[in-house]
Every structure is written in C-alpha cells, then in structure tokens.
C-alpha cells in the first residue's frame, strides 16, 4: 500500500477525517486545493456575517470607555472567543486542509499575538483579511497587507512611532519606535544574514512613520498621518526612498523581492514541509522558484508538492501541540462542536491559538516542543481525547490516521490493547502520531 495519500493528509494537510480519508491521487488532491475557490464558512457564533475590522476596533473603543465589572469577559475578548472557535471549527472539518496549513504557516511567519488585551478582537480579522486571501499570491502583497493591518501596527507598536522631525514629533517631543521596522527586516523579510546595520533599521523605522491606527473617529482602521511622517529621504541598505506614504509600499515590495528574503522564506517553508534541518538543495530549489516568479506563493506551494524530499517516509516533523490536537480530533471524527475542547487542550500543552510568545511566532523544530513533562502531558491529553471518543473504532482510526505509516510495534499495540479506549490512547500516543 502506498503511503503517499497518508503523507499528503498528514504532512501537507491537518490529518485525515473519516469523511476526508487519505486521497488516492495525493498530488492532485493537494493541487486541487490550491486551484479551487476558497472554502465558504459560517461567520463566528452570534455574528450574522463576518465581523469587520471596524467592528473589532469599535469593540475595543467600547471596552476602553465603558469598563465591564471585574470578572466579566470584555467585548473584545468575547469576539476573540467567537473568532477562535469559528477558526477551530474550520480546522476540524475543512476539506481543504493544505490550504489551511498554508494560512497558519503564513500567519505564524507574520506573527501577531493576542497576549495583550487590545489585540484580542483584532487577530481574527488579521488572519481572515490580511493573511488568508494572500497565501497563494505574491509575497509582497501578503507582506503589505499584514504590515498595514492594525493588528500588526498595534502588536509591534508602530501606532506609537512618530518621526522626531515631523510636525507632530516637533510639537510633542515624541520619537521613533523601531519595533516594527526591526522585525520586518529581521523576521519577516531579510534576516540578519543580509547584513543590514542598525542605521538601516533606524532608516526603515523613519520610513514607516505616519502609519498608525485610527481608533476613535470614523472610519476606524489603518491610517497614514502625514503630520507624524518623518520628512526627507530614507536610505535602507543603499536604496533611497523619498518621503511619503507611497514609499512604505515601495520599500515593502523591494524587501519582499530581495534574494535574502527569498532564501529566508525558502528555508522556513522547507523546514515546515520537509525537515527541521532541510537539505540545502531543497532550500535552493524553493528560493529559485520565488526568484523566478517574483515571490509567487502559489508557485512555491506547488513546488512543495513536487519536492521528492517531502514525500519520503518515515515522517520526521514533530507535530506541534496545535497540530497534534487538530489531527487527533480529526482522526476521531470530531465535529465543529469540539472547537472549545480543542482550544483548551492545546492551551494545556503550551500553545494558545494566535498567541505566540514572541514576534518570531511558534517554533517549527522538534527541540522546542519536546521535553519530559510536556511529552507526558501530550500522552495525558491524548488519553483525555480517547475518553471523549470511546466509541470510535480504534482499528478503523489506526488505518485512517496512520495506515501504512504505522510501525509494526504501534500496530500490534493498538490491535492487542485491552480496551478500545486503551487502543485509541496508544494510537494517539504512538511515536508516528506525534509526527507529520
């Protein structure tokens, strides 16, 4: 039995479901997800249609003006809850899991975090409108949408950065906040390997001034305040940009097209879809596609599917807690109603949805997730999942979730377990199930 269908479902997708088993034609199944229209989806609970960015910012404003009694969930947090549940419901049930993996990958590459309360209502919109529509387009388009979104401007403090020599800067004495400028260069595009200096960071931060968030007056949202924009040309790594809002997009496009950015993106994609330490030839090949297509993320996604290195068992990538929980629940056939359970389970394993601990996003190597108590917690939580799906036939689940990827030892342990629940726990706690 070929393992290609399972590899497609595990490595590229989110794990098989009873109603979405491993495909017969693995590559065609993946490519169809890239070519098809995006999946339609119900709006979050209690919303008739998807909340807009203006809705989110209005809730934030309301929370600031009318504080709720202690112990009550703020309006922003309530929207966050509805958003993540709707997102989890999609992950649990989607028929286009490769596409969802790409959405999560790029959202993690351009990470924002809901760890601070003003961020709570913004992250759902960020993923829906800044990330999701652009994961198969030019990287520059994705980068601009992400950097200009109020979630990113708030998270990395761009909203408080003021050009020191701008009208507002001279009047208020306020100055630059380099946070966003530095992270764009370091994390989102070039990386320090490109050899930029502190001077380049400062210049790029000066270039970004004026970009801020309007939180009080309609229309709410991202807005360019010229009075805060630093006058004069800015020189980033030798490239000169004139003053004005247009230079922000121009600089982001220039960074997106830089060879160092392509290498960086290629390495991260290879690490996610091939191995923690991917072969340099794979990175070169992906970087080449980005270079030749002007950073086309759809083209590089197709190239991932074509990589022989992405298809060789045994699968080596350790599932993050998030991936593990989603895959386990999909294997059990969980429906959208399991969304809150999924969220609390992965939170218990150290990964809270949309809330990485740093702008670098969640780590994508095994070492970051493997530690003794964490590993036992994984087993405990997998046992909790098997307790919730006691009537799920373990033998069926084994064939669905691992099939030919199951080692003889795992297969025998599952088939000879003393009870169906024990068999399910052994399946979900097997070394193969920890991988994708």
């Amino acid at each position: 039995m070929s393992s290609a269908g399972h590899i497609a479902a595990l490595r590229f997708g989110l794990g098989p479901r009873p109603d979405a088993p491993p495909p017969d034609d693995a590559r065609a199944w993946l490519l169809a997800q890239l070519d098809g229209p995006p999946e339609a989806m119900d709006p979050p609970l209690d919303w008739e249609q998807d909340p807009t960015l203006a809705d989110a910012l209005a809730l934030n404003a309301l929370d600031r003006r009318n504080r709720l009694p202690a112990g009550e969930r703020s309006r922003g947090a309530t929207l966050y809850d509805a958003e993540f549940r709707s997102y989890f419901a999609r992950l649990l049930t989607t028929a286009a899991p490769f596409r969802e993996r790409l959405v999560a990958f790029w959202a993690n590459h351009l990470a924002v975090s809901a760890r601070e309360s003003p961020m709570l209502p913004l992250v759902g919109d960020y993923v829906r409108n800044a990330i999701r529509p652009h994961v198969l387009g030019p990287f520059g388009t994705l980068l601009k949408a992400a950097i200009r979104h109020p979630a990113m401007l708030t998270y990395l403090n761009q909203d408080s950065s003021v050009g020191p020599d701008s009208v507002a800067g001279r009047r208020s004495g306020r100055g630059l906040n380099e946070n966003l400028g530095r992270e764009v260069l370091e994390l989102h595009t070039l990386t320090p390997a490109a050899g930029y200096s502190q001077g380049d960071v400062t210049e790029f931060a000066r270039l970004l001034t004026g970009l801020t968030v309007e939180r009080n007056r309609e229309p709410l949202g991202t807005f360019f305040r010229s009075a805060s924009h630093e006058p004069g040309d800015k020189t980033v790594m030798g490239k000169v940009f004139p003053p004005g809002e247009a230079s922000i997009d121009a600089a982001l496009d220039w960074l997106a097209a830089h060879p160092a950015t392509h290498r960086h993106l290629a390495l991260k994609l290879a690490r996610h879809f091939v191995a923690d330490d991917p072969p340099p030839t794979v990175v070169e090949r992906l970087a080449g596609v980005l270079r030749d297509t002007g950073g086309d993320l759809g083209a590089v996604s197709r190239e991932l599917v074509a990589l022989p290195e992405a298809w060789s068992p045994p699968l080596s990538k350790l599932r993050s807690p998030h991936d593990l929980v989603i895959a386990a629940l999909r294997a059990m056939g969980a429906d959208a109603g399991a969304a809150p359970f999924a969220a609390t389970t992965e939170f218990a394993l150290g990964q809270r949805i949309w809330s990485p601990t740093a702008p670098k996003g969640w780590p994508d190597v095994a070492d970051a997730w493997i530690h003794p108590e964490g590993m036992l917690l994984r087993l405990d939580r997998m046992h909790a999942i098997s307790g919730r799906f006691l009537r799920r036939d373990a033998r069926e689940a084994l064939e669905l979730a691992l099939g030919p990827l199951a080692s003889p030892g795992t297969r025998e342990a599952v088939l000879r377990a003393g009870s169906n629940r024990e068999a399910l726990t052994l399946l979900l706690g097997s070394p193969e199930f920890q991988r994708r």
């Binding site: 377990a417 003393g418 070394p431």
Partner: protein, 396 residues
C-alpha cells in the same frame, strides 16, 4: 452492527458527588424501607484477568510445569498464596478479599467465561456486557432494570455507572445515571508502560517519556503508593458512598483496566490486584450497613493462556476466575467445576477450559438477589434458556 447510544444514556443524568443529589432523584422512587433494598454492583475487569494467577490452583499437578516462573509461592511461604481451602490460593496482593472470604462474604468462581469463545478483547467484552451470543443494542444490566420490582413507580432511577463513559452493560432503554470523576483522567500505570514500550526506540519521544515518567515518580512502570490510592480505589469508594444512602441507587457498574499482562505479568499484576483489593474494600467500607444487602460481581472478558509466554506474561485465553462478594453472598467457598490443567483438559490445548457460564451467576443475582421475575431474567438474557441460574450463591 452499529452501536447507537440510547438518548437517555447519552444525556447521562450526571449525579453529583454528594449522596444528596441522588436522594433528590430517588426519594419518591423507592418508597418505604429503602434501606432494606438489595444492592448489586458489577465490576468489569477490562483486558482479561489471568484467573490462574488471581485464584491459583496450586493443588493442580500440572500448574508448575505450565507456569514456570509465574507460579506463586505456596501458602505459608513468604509472599505466598492466601489459602482458599487446600487446592486454590488467592494471590498475595488480595488480602482484603481474603479477609472477606474468611468472613464468609466472598466466593471465588473459577473456570468461568462469558457467552463467546472469542479471544478478541473487543468482541468478548461486548458479548459479556450484552449477555448474549449475538449482538444486541443494549446491555444485560440495563435490560434487567426494566424488571426491577418497583420499576413502574420510578425505581429505574436506581442505576448508575461510574467512569467517563457509560459501559455497554448499562446501555439501553432504561435511564442510567453517571458519576464521572472531576479530576484529570490520566492513563493508568499499565497504559503508561505500553506507551513507553511503543515509544522507547524513538530518539525524540522515547527519552522524553522515560524521563517524564521518572520525574513523576514511576519506577519500572509502577506508580508510587499514594498514586495507587487514586483511580479505582477512589471510584469504588465513591460508588459505596452513593449507594449507602437510604434510597440511593441500587445497581452500579464500575470498570477497571490494566489486566492485559502480555509481558512482565508478575510485576504488573501486583499493582492492579492491590488496587482491586483496596477498591473492593473501600466499596465495602463505604457501603456501611448496606453491605449486608449487597452483592458484587467481579468479572473479566476471558482468561489467559495456561502457559507462560516468552515475555514473562500470558496471552489471550478462555476460562478465568471471577468473584462474588458482599453480605448477601453465601461466601467462604470456591465455586468451580474444576476441569484440570492436564494437557488433554485444556481448551484448544492452551487455555483453561470454561465450565461455568457467567450468565448463570448473573441470572442468579437478578432472580434471587434483586427479585426479578423469571420472565424479566429471560428478557435480560435472551436466547439462553438452557443456562440455568447457578444455585446456592446467596444467603437464604
């Protein structure tokens, strides 16, 4: 066939920890003199208890040859069997059960088996709980509830199951309450050991699990003593408390895993048998005066091979041991039509030959302990007219 959850079972009427919650539901149901109502507890040992280890026929001449290193020390020796009258001995980790035996409150049943001869856990457990040789959508204990005296007045509130899921034996048309432990539901020690086993060769997960288990106080897959107090012991004690209340539930089902001892059986059994022993004692203790009117049936889906295997364990077999205990039981005896362990006497030349159908025991409990009519007993165990009630198990 598929196993649909009965709607009421799925809703699982959750009983609180306090007996008060149960009282609230049951006070009208049982009417006057409820403390006199009989109590029935069924304990399912999932994974196949090795009956030859739990109740060892040390007097059988073939035993030592079959069991080799798994044979236990003779009664009177250090860590020796607890004698049950000269031929059988109780495993040394069952001292409290032995004390009940000595007080004429426990019967050891031997060479017993459920309705099937399957060596599949799944099939055999299902049939043991269904109580028939073919699949039905409900369990025999649930069907029995319909025949409980006082059923029309609402005595169907009389049953509950303990654990995270309603076992098949309790599934069916009759509503059954559930008591679920609130604390986190960790794998039992035996399952951790199996998880370690399938992960040990993995360079990432193997060392992490090994170190994690060590940090949590496991040594060689065995839980530290205070952890042993949890799990089944706690649940059995809770069941006793719930059932002790006047008008409390009359019928309960509990389950315990960890019996599938394919390797290193002696070490593993010591842990689970001690838990079982402590749990049954906690049940007795918490039932208080109601113990006098209680019968507890402890049974497993099948036994294990008569011979030790290559890993110091035993594989799936057929006949096993079971226990019947409680103040209502005419105890102090081993009840067995002993087939013997000689080569020619083994079932398919490998397992203890079953000579007692557990349905005969269950029927006796329904008829003579709970007071079901013959028709109601027949409805609980359809298609088994040839299997009569086992007589003499209960006090007159």
């Amino acid at each position: 066939m598929t196993r649909h959850l009965p709607p009421l079972g799925r809703r699982g009427l959750l009983l609180g920890l306090s007996a008060g919650a149960v009282l609230g539901g049951a006070r009208l149901a049982l009417g006057a003199g409820p403390s006199g109502d009989p109590r029935l507890v069924v304990v399912l040992l999932r994974g196949a208890l090795d009956g030859l280890a739990a109740v060892q026929p040390y007097g059988d001449p073939a035993l030592a040859g079959l069991r080799g290193p798994l044979a236990l020390a003779q009664p009177g020796e250090e860590e020796g069997l607890l004698d049950l009258g000269g031929f059988f001995g109780l495993h040394p980790r069952l001292p409290k059960l032995h004390a009940m035996y000595a007080a004429n409150e426990a019967i050891a049943l031997h060479a017993a088996c459920g309705p099937t001869r399957s060596r599949s856990h799944f099939v055999a457990q299902d049939m043991l709980e269904i109580g028939a040789e073919q699949r039905l959508a409900s369990g025999w204990l649930n069907r029995a509830l319909a025949g409980l005296p006082g059923h029309e007045e609402g005595a169907n509130r009389a049953a509950f199951a303990i654990g995270t899921d309603l076992p098949l034996i309790m599934r069916g048309a009759e509503p059954v309450g559930m008591y679920a432990p609130s604390r986190s539901d960790r794998p039992p020690p035996d399952l951790y050991a199996k998880l370690m086993e399938i992960n040990h060769a993995d360079p990432l997960t193997g060392p992490a699990i090994q170190e994690g288990l060590r940090a949590r106080g496991f040594t060689a897959g065995v839980l530290p003593p205070d952890e042993q107090r949890g799990g089944f012991v706690e649940l059995a004690g809770a069941a006793g408390r719930l059932m002790a209340a006047p008008g409390g539930p009359r019928v309960a089902a509990l389950e315990m895993t960890g019996w599938d001892t394919h390797a290193g059986q002696n070490g593993r059994l010591r842990v689970v048998l001690a838990q079982l022993d402590n749990g049954l004692d906690a049940l007795r203790e918490h039932l208080g005066p109601a113990w006098a009117r209680t019968a507890v049936l402890v049974m497993t889906e099948f036994g294990r091979t008569a011979r030790v295997n290559g890993n110091g364990g035993t594989d799936h077999g057929t006949g096993s041991a079971a226990f019947l205990l409680g103040g209502a039981v005419a105890g102090g005896r081993v009840v067995a039509d002993w087939p013997g362990l000689a080569e020619g006497r083994l079932y398919e030349k490998r397992d203890l030959m079953p000579t007692l159908d557990l349905r005969a025991v269950a029927k006796a409990l329904l008829r003579n302990h709970l007071g079901l009519s013959p028709a109601a007993v027949a409805a609980a165990f359809p298609g088994s007219a040839a299997i009569g009630e086992k007589s003499g198990l209960l006090r007159a």
